[in-house]
Point group: C2
Chain length 135, copies 2
Amino acid sequence: MEVGRNRRNQLALLEAGRAMGRAFSVRELHTAAQAAVPKLGLTTAYRAVERWREEGWVEEAGTRSGEGVYVLCAEQGHHHHVVCVDCGATALLQGCALEPVRAASRSAGFELQDAALGTLPALCAECAGSNAGNR
Amino acid sequence: MEVGRNRRNQLALLEAGRAMGRAFSVRELHTAAQAAVPKLGLTTAYRAVERWREEGWVEEAGTRSGEGVYVLCAEQGHHHHVVCVDCGATALLQGCALEPVRAASRSAGFELQDAALGTLPALCAECAGSNAGNR
DNA sequence: TCTCAAATGAAAAGGGATTTCACTTTCGTA
DNA sequence: TACGAAAGTGAAATCCCTTTTCATTTGAGA
């Protein structure tokens, strides 16, 4: 993963993203990175995430209360994450279980957009448990 | 499908939604419905879609240039649509091909959110063709 | 050290979605 | 039919995430 010119801001953002260990919004990333660089601007955080997305280091994982949430992934190849829609916890799925879906889509004349399915919405065990009562 | 009190606005919106035949944004729905009721307000369109969503008549199908897009579905039971991310064309998938994905998710300790996967991003044959050159 | 392109951040602008609020329409009931 | 409560409505205001603008700063290479 590149940081372009090794700028302090970029490194702080990258560090913060990695430390998250789960899906995060740009605002969360920004706040976390400000621990290292207090003056870091929100715009810079948006730009970094956008760049990471273009370079394939990050994937969008839907939205949470209006904010886009992103997942930083170590591997570049074809893979799928499940992402907890509640807390943002993530897990890497082994193999590609989407083949049957792709086949079904083709039968209907559609080509599945794998890129948009890099992150699959789910509930982690913890959130599933704490939500059992009120849903 | 109910319209609550059989109001002219609600019927116009419902009619417009059905006539779409594909995924649509609230703004598109609003514009279409205004053919029947020119004074119909945008707020009412948003409220109708929200109600339909709560009642399960409509599913969110991601966003297109910032706007949420929705799919009106005839059947209520468990099913999945593929939705063209380009033009909004939809198709109903036969059976549930997501079982393997659900199983893989469970292995990772996550419970797939079927509700959020009611619509799967794809490219229809037509859009896939016209995009072949410039992507 | 010098020069220029990339990076930056504060503020403004954009834009979709939601809330507010006063007014209207509908439905159940007397 | 008349009435009143409840639901529906629309215009405008508001919210708030995201993008754009622009003047300034920073860093890499000459």
